[in-house]
């Protein structure tokens, strides 16, 4: 069974580094950064590429800084997309 591919985007300037998302992540793909943001918090970054888009991190985030994406079944069929330099020919390869 192919694994569901997901991804998250963290608004690092609004993150307060409370680590609740790290605790909630079943894949342990989140880590604390080594740098601070403008407010002086050690924000959270995604370090592992095993996100499944389960939205657990976004649900527990008190500041709502996480946006979650998950590859839909329709997109999974499309395994490659090739576009030439000028962008007028697009070849889509499906399973």
């Amino acid at each position: 069974m192919a694994k569901v591919k997901g991804d998250i985007v963290i608004d690092i300037e609004k993150c307060k580094g409370c680590e609740l998302c790290m605790d909630a992540c079943p894949q342990d793909s989140l880590e604390r950064s080594k740098q601070v943001n403008k407010k002086g918090y050690l924000y959270i970054v995604k370090v592992e590429d095993n996100c499944t888009g389960c939205t657990n991190c976004a649900l527990v985030c008190p500041d709502g800084v996480i946006t979650v994406y998950r590859q839909t079944a329709k997109n999974k069929e499309q395994i490659a997309k090739i576009t030439n330099v000028t962008g007028d020919i697009t070849v889509t390869v499906k399973e």
């Binding site: 409370c18 649900l59 946006t67 998950r70 839909t72």
Partner: protein
């Protein structure tokens, strides 16, 4: 992408790697930006208030009642709730949010009205207002955030503080003999005939967050049907005044608060009386 992000190599690499999945059609979860302002909240890191604000905003956005809802903010940590929610809000005197909400609902019966209160506000200073509002069965939603302490003023003992729990006014722990037992106000109002839906939820785990959202959604639906007062207690944490980090505080909540304040519906509407579904 700003300079600061560019400096963080690891994050920059992540940004490149995620281009394939991060597009609008794959979006599964984002902040309810129509109702919740983009302003950073003043709450401490890890505070449950932020989650409840977001859930409230999500429900309002889903029901499409942005212009038909009026909220009443309390005195306490959530006193500035009107700075974060893009809806009509009013501020009430300490503990009187449910009384103010009653007035608003009676003048504008077609609007959805809710009060958002903390435990010091609702269970100590506004006990009378809360009990009488529930007893009269006003068609409002009372959202009660219980973290067992007065958070804004620096961690004094609240009526909901657990036995033997330390606070700045009970430094040796709450002594039940001299300071009384914690007040389970949710069970108290569930006995009143005016309340229609009384439940206790929490926001410390993803599953509980989902349940809390469902409870808020239900409460607004009952309000539309003019069924009576809906009362939702949300057991929350206070990392700063419990002197813990956010993850520890959620663990402490799970181990100590929840045995005393069990989660679940306390008063559910009689299914035989329901005409819808």
């Amino acid at each position: 992408m700003n300079e600061k992000t560019m400096l963080d190599d690891q994050h920059y690499e992540n940004m490149i790697a995620e281009e394939s999945v991060c597009n609008a059609e794959n979006l599964v979860y984002e902040k309810p930006s129509k109702v919740l302002y983009d302003t950073p909240m003043h709450y401490c890191p890890g505070c449950g208030h932020g989650v409840v604000h977001r859930l409230l905003a999500e429900v309002i956005e889903e029901l499409g009642i942005t212009s038909d809802i009026i909220g009443v903010a309390p005195v306490g940590c959530s006193v500035l709730a009107y700075n974060y929610l893009n809806i009509d809000m009013s501020e009430a005197a300490h503990g009187r949010a449910s009384a103010v909400a009653t007035g608003i609902k009676r003048v504008l019966p077609e609007k959805y009205v809710f009060s958002y209160q903390g435990d010091g506000d609702l269970a100590a200073i506004g006990t009378g207002e809360t009990i009488h509002t529930c007893n009269r069965g006003e068609n409002i939603l009372i959202l009660f955030i219980n973290n067992g302490i007065y958070g804004m003023t620096g961690g004094q003992m609240a009526p909901t503080t657990l036995p033997n729990m330390k606070s700045t006014t009970s430094p040796f722990g709450r002594d039940v003999e001299t300071m009384g037992s914690p007040l389970k106000i949710t069970e108290l109002v569930a006995q009143l005939p005016g309340t229609y839906y009384v439940t206790r939820q929490s926001v410390h785990k993803p599953v509980n967050v989902r349940k809390t959202k469902k409870a808020i959604l239900k409460a607004f639906e009952y309000q539309k049907l003019k069924k009576g007062t809906c009362f939702i207690e949300v057991v929350s944490n206070c990392p700063s005044n419990w002197k813990m980090n956010p993850v520890e505080s959620n663990k402490w909540l799970d181990e100590n608060m929840l045995p005393f304040y069990p989660l679940g519906d306390i008063k559910v509407p009689d299914k035989n009386l329901q005409t819808d579904d």
